[in-house]
Amino acid sequence: MSEMYEAVIGLEIHMELNTKSKIFCSCPTTFGAAPNTQCCPVCCGLPGTLPVLNKQVVEKAARFGMAAHCEIATLSKQDRKNYFYPDLPKAYQISQYDMPLCKGGYVDIVADGEKTRVRLNRIHIEEDAGKLIHVEGKGTLVDFNRCGVPLIEIVTEPDIRTAAQAVALLQKLRAMALYVGASEAAMEKGQMRCDVNLSVHKIGEPYGTRTEMKNLNSFTSVTRAIDVEYKRQVAAVEAGTPIVQETRRFDAESGRTYSMRSKENDSDYRYFPDPDLPPIHIGVEQLNALRDSIPRLPDERAAQYMSNFGLSAQEAERVVARRDMADAFEETAKLLSSGAKPRTAAVLLSDAYAQAQADGLKYDAMDTAKAAHVCELVDSGAISHASAREIILALMKGDIDVDGYVKSHAMSQISDMAAIEDAVKAVIAESAELVERVRAGKLSAINALVGLSMKRMAGRGNARIIHEVIERILQL
């Protein structure tokens, strides 16, 4: 029944720019410093202080906008958004209202193997607020360190339909930010936060009333919030209860969304142009210089990899996720001996990405000639893919002798038919249920059998040969 309903989703993404100093003063922006050690009279909004715009903020935001195909305004202005809250020391946030720095634009994403274009409405610059810390028995404390950290707010059109697309967009925005050097955009560090606007409708019918869920700070919470709110709205529509336009809070613990405030109770922010800040002018020459400074971007690279190296859209999208990874891929592909497959290098490097990210490893620390050698070892069947991934990570950590490493870690792959047949037979004997499913036509169950066989061979079996042996024994 609920399959009849489509979710219509737009995102508002706040991304911290990685400037050394804050947007309106010279305080540092380092994450995680002791409370109230990175603030001054200006970012604390003391009486008499004035903001002076950090030019780097405009440049980084404009570069990001260019990467997103936005029109960069040669004239934009900054406005005050007035509201009272203890984490906002001036009682107004300096943002951009009706003349943002970047207008329009789009981002192409790949989700579930399908390419989608998400149009952008605008990107504007603004300042972050401080943080409230609630201390049991002491009341509420304010940390002003984050006050004045520069942000861009990216507002999409409602072109997103699924949680997977929303996550793909966030990942793509992060990749773009890394490429142009605008932000680290790490959600776990609060450098990227996301508000989700969601409504449901039956395809062919007008859009429904939307609700907004604010400050989602991980891919998981974005995914869950979308799923939960979609289900809630579908249930409401089915029950004939009208959806109220409101802000809702997603509670990760209970996995539910709660009403925070309705549109009627929304404050009037009394936006007006900040008289302390002159309009932002960007000349044509400066725009050209900024444009010239933008490196080849993920989309362009992905397209090249697909046509030159035969990567699939998904594989190409993965290997361009980080600039140093894509650079390393291009280098490695160049150094491969004829006959070795660039695709192997792409898959290997992207498979190492999650771990590299978690360990803070950089692809540019890796000797690409050695990485090419690792790819050749995989393609010749000398080592398994899993072992190769481990060596790639080791290469990022420090210079190692690949052949020596393979030997000392007993990684050379077993292609010996007898050994593989022994392992496969043992697994088939133990896994009646999986075998049953394979025979019933669930071919994906073969992968599970391959995995179990590989495990039995301590990861050293040749996956391709194992696969063939299973098919032969089961007479598929």
Partner: protein, 488 residues
């Protein structure tokens, strides 16, 4: 040794060893001791701080060091300009005990000049008012007649100079707050071109209109003080980067050949006849020295007052939001919720006029009303600037009255609206960001000073001072005007 001298004369005597900086500073402190109970000009006195600076100057003189122009010349500062370690109240209960942790840019400059700071001066609360009756601390009395107001909002700054309680003072002018009290007290006050003096450290009333400027007893001294405080400051994005001259250069070259416009609208409705006569007398004095005076018509200026009150109140409503009882300043004793903390702190901490303007400004910026009020006011602003440009394409300066009347008695203005009408000749200048000098040109039948206003195009301060000095040489400083007018 007399505290009635010009700054250049005091500076000469200091360098010649005819007076020490300590003696000079002490003389002004004695002046404050004698006068301030009557005037109420000072909110905070910093005698010891001033004497300490004076002693440093004396040491430097003894060592034969070269001194900046204001070294050893004692000044005092309007209490909306922040001073590190010295209470800065804005004459409000909201900031009654507030001690700033940093100095305003103008204070940095005066400190680098080794000018002894005598203290902080009284004003209308948050610079909102035209009589200094809105001070939450105490009223200021006009030294020319203690029953009368000194004007406002920089009433303390004007009164202190008039009563010789400082050699110079700094004030701020958002819609006439330097020029009108200068006129009421018979002293010289300059509102410089917007962007000439850094606003960094000036507690904002209306950011797009506010400008700091000097009060002195005579024109040349005024140019000396402005030269010390003008200049580009990277901490104020509205500060204009350019070469700022020494404003005394060419100051005595006269007005021969200058073309001066006299707007007819400012000499017709609502102006006291004696004020009109005084301004026309100033025009005659300038004409006698070779200036060409012509009457012009600027009908658009009648929209300046409503536009001013919309723009200034709108900006103020936002600027004053930070006084919320959370971080510094006044906090209500009794509250349960965050909303109560905000509401009660602001209700108890602000005076009636400040609250009136916050309400007015919040309304003007509200969604649904923005276009009808704020946006329209900005359009009027553009039109007014254009009309001034047209006039200055043909004329060097504009001569006009400062206020429709001379100083009135305390309590005489019953309503806020009546009070606002008194700003009619001064606000257009702020709307267009122009420089304007207010100086005494005559006195009325009650012996009260009448002010003349000289307005010029952006960055024409040198020319304004030239005309001002010529007028002063013709009619005399207020001491001379008062002495000559003794028969009336």
């Amino acid at each position: 040794m007399s505290v009635q001298m010009k700054i250049s004369e005091m500076a000469r005597m200091l360098r010649a060893g005819e007076v020490s900086a300590r003696e000079l500073t002490q003389a002004f402190i004695n002046g404050i001791d004698a006068e301030d109970e009557k005037t109420g000009a000072y909110i905070t006195r910093t005698d010891e701080l001033a004497l300490k600076t004076a002693d440093e100057v004396d040491t430097a003189i003894a060592a034969g060091e070269k001194l900046p122009p204001l070294a050893g010349i004692p000044g005092a500062i309007k209490d909306n300009i922040v001073t590190r370690g010295v209470r800065t109240t804005c004459a409000s209960k909201m900031l009654g005990e507030y001690v700033p942790p940093y100095d305003a840019h103008v204070i940095d400059l005066l400190k680098s000049q080794h000018s002894p700071m005598l203290g902080k001066l009284n004003m209308d609360e948050f610079a909102m008012g035209s009589s200094t009756e809105n001070s939450a601390i105490k009223p200021v009395h006009n030294p020319r007649d203690p029953e009368r107001v000194p004007g406002g909002s920089s009433g303390g700054s004007a009164a202190a100079v008039a009563a010789r309680e400082a050699a110079f003072t700094l004030g701020s002018d958002t819609g006439g707050s330097i020029r009108q009290p200068a006129a009421f007290c018979g002293v010289v006050g300059m509102k410089p071109t917007y962007g000439t003096v850094s606003r960094y450290g000036l507690i904002a009333f209306a950011s797009s209109l506010d400008q700091i400027g000097p009060f002195t007893a005579d024109v040349e001294s005024n140019a000396i003080v402005l030269s010390a405080i003008a200049g580009h400051d990277g901490r104020d994005a509205t500060s204009i980067p350019r070469e700022y001259p020494d404003f005394t250069d060419g100051i005595s070259t006269g007005v021969h050949g200058m073309k001066i416009a006299l707007p007819g609208e400012f000499l017709s409705d609502g102006i006291a006849p004696e004020v009109k006569a005084g301004v026309l007398k100033a025009a005659d004095a300038l004409r006698a020295q070779g200036a060409q005076i012509e009457e012009v018509s600027m009908p658009i200026l009648k929209y300046a007052l409503p536009a001013y009150y919309v723009i200034s109140s709108a900006e103020a409503s936002s600027n004053l939001s930070r006084f919320d009882g959370v971080k510094y300043g006044y906090r209500a004793k009794d509250f349960e919720t965050l909303d109560e903390l905000y509401t009660r702190s602001r209700t108890e901490g602000f005076g009636a006029e400040v609250k009136r303007r916050i309400m007015l400004g919040s309304f003007a910026l509200s969604s649904g009303y923005y276009d009808a009020y704020y946006k329209k006011a900005l359009q009027v602003r553009t039109l007014i600037s254009r009309v001034y440009d047209d006039v200055f394409a043909k004329y060097d300066l504009i001569l006009s009255p400062v206020a429709p009347t001379t100083a009135y008695k305390a309590g005489a203005k019953g309503s806020s609206l009546e009070m606002y009408m008194g700003d009619i000749y001064t606000v257009p200048v702020n709307i267009a960001g122009l420089p304007a000098l207010s100086m005494p040109c005559a006195r009325d039948g009650d012996g009260l000073p009448i002010g003349a206003q000289l307005i010029g195009p952006h960055f024409s301060e040198q020319k304004i001072y030239r005309a001002g000095l010529a007028l002063e040489q013709a009619v005399g400083t207020y001491d001379k005007i008062a002495a000559q007018g003794g028969d009336r």
